[in-house]
Symmetry: C2
Subunit: 344 residues, 2 copies
């Protein structure tokens, strides 16, 4: 099995599980469930069937592949994988409201189409359904005691997500965010869920706690590499590939790691702090700001951090290797490398 | 033990449990947890200790008293009781955003003080912490299999809440909401959680499924009586006692049951549909609208429904009586009667 075969095998299981969970139980509620189905890429803005971009489904893949690589039955982890993906998507629906983001995955965001009150409530529904997804693990033979451990990990992750989002929002009004602040924030906002996904896969595979911890470390390091890559794409990514505005993170004055490094740079920092503390940016400001970033060499600084996090993820993976199904274990390494090299 | 002694015994357990759950784990997150503590009435707007109105804590009381009356150990149900109350309060934080409500319990709402993005995220945190509350039941000796049943009931209730809120919001633009539509909405928005509270108490007490079902019926009927009383107070309640604007539900054109009956009344319905379909109401419009409600006798119609639901709740309680601790069982009846007669 290669990585594309793994995707082709596992993801339809997860999609089927999620479609069952998000099916409307009665006509009067069709629009409520329709908003969630729209966000998932299954319906268009008129709530008619569509096949829109649906995201990477990275978290369920990490969960299922880790479960299988650790010698477990990936079918047993399908409800958990669906729950992880639903949690991720719930958080996107709410983040888009909190950031007033008009577009996601080349389409209008849920709140743009249906208004803030309904979008907020649809997000709450998806959060609830993510929990119900996990409870379906019982029917797949996951023992009750294992499932309670899985749920504890999951709910602690949910809390961490909100803590990360809180910190991220407090950064908006600050010009003194340190790299340490940034790493504290991002370990919760992105890292926690990407660490939980392989950890939960390992929990369901019922391996030793050493292997479980290695899987969690793998996910945490992968999560950091993934997020830093995202930060690079938010400034230097190709608009046609990412589906977001070019240099969108500059225009929104987002405090991503390249920006934080540039703001504290000896030479260009004072000028950038003046600009970031001033009126909103327009596209005409971009060439000058990008030039200042270049002087501070922040792109290569963050690219180096991506490489370091990738190395740490491979090391964690190696720690789990003696206990793993070799062929599937190698796919986790491939999955990691594919994320680090991504353009969108 | 009388009802006030039951409150004085049980509620401090629940408050202590919730305070542990909502304690900030580190200074950088103090404001995130502070918003939740403000909503609970423990902090003032400057996030300094306060003793503000905190709500009735009805759901935890129903859960603990039912557990004890059914012969269980109410201490075992404390984490679940805390989780039910946190869920209720999470839903209030989000409802206040969705309804743009400026005040609750005589104070500014969370979004008014901290902005929509942070309030939305604080609500998500409380939703997550409600789930973590339930998981603490293990430490009180609740068996894993029982806890999974409790969690299923809880998460199905969370979904029902969002369905009820969805339906309620769709009523805003409609003048043709029927009493059947209303009862379908309210059974989810209010009834589901008030039915779940005693049912979960009975689950933890580990009684027969017949007794559990009677407890659920009791909560559902109590929930209806409670909500209809709320509808009456929203129009005819005393501003000083309720902490909400007098006739606030008229000014906001909310489709509560008295309004729905009045809108479909032969004589005054056409005039009311014209008014409800027209420009926003001002306080000067209130006397005329209240006069139309009087002609339609909608107040006594809803008061009759409150009495009928109260009778059904007492009947459900009677079905559980042979299996209950008599003294505590009587308190559930008293609790019901105290709600129906309430002025706030």
């Amino acid at each position: 099995m290669d990585l594309s075969q793994a995707y082709a095998t596992y993801l339809p299981w997860v999609e089927a599980e999620m479609r069952e969970l998000l099916a409307s139980p009665e006509p009067a509620l069709a629009r409520h469930y329709g908003m969630m189905q729209y966000h998932m890429g299954w319906l268009n803005a008129d709530l008619q069937p569509a096949d829109a971009p649906a995201g990477k489904r990275l978290r369920p893949m990490l969960c299922l592949l880790t479960c299988a690589a650790a010698g477990g039955d990936p079918q047993q982890a399908v409800p958990a994988a669906a729950g992880l993906e639903l949690l991720h998507n719930f958080s996107l629906i709410h983040d888009d409201i909190e950031d007033y983001s008009p577009r996601r995955r080349h389409r209008p965001t849920v709140w743009t189409l249906f208004g803030i009150p309904q979008a907020l409530n649809a997000g709450d529904a998806m959060f609830s359904l993510a929990h119900l997804a996990f409870l379906r693990s019982v029917e797949r033979g996951v023992p009750a005691s294992t499932l309670l451990k899985v749920l504890r990990t999951f709910d602690e992750t949910c809390v961490a997500l909100t803590e990360g989002q809180f910190l991220d929002m407090t950064f908006e009004d600050r010009l003194d965010v340190s790299p340490a602040d940034y790493f504290r924030m991002i370990s919760r906002k992105t890292g926690a869920l990407l660490a939980a996904a392989p950890y939960i896969g390992a929990l369901i595979a019922n391996v030793t706690s050493e292997v479980m911890d290695a899987c969690r470390q793998f996910g945490a390091a992968l999560g950091l590499a993934f997020q830093l890559q995202d930060d690079l794409l938010g400034i230097w990514g190709d608009e046609d590939l990412t589906g977001k505005s070019a240099a969108g993170d500059i225009l929104s004055k987002k405090k991503t790691l390249p920006v934080i490094y540039a703001l504290e740079h000896d030479q260009v920092g004072p000028e950038l702090r003046r600009l970031y503390g001033g009126p909103p940016f327009t596209p005409a400001d971009l060439p000058y700001i990008l030039k200042l970033f270049e002087v501070a060499s922040v792109r290569s600084l963050v690219e180096m951090q991506v490489r370091q996090a990738t190395v740490r993820a491979h090391q964690a993976l190696a720690a789990a290797k003696p206990y793993a199904v070799p062929e599937l274990h190698a796919l986790l390494g491939e999955l990691l490398d594919s994320l680090v090299g991504r353009q969108a």
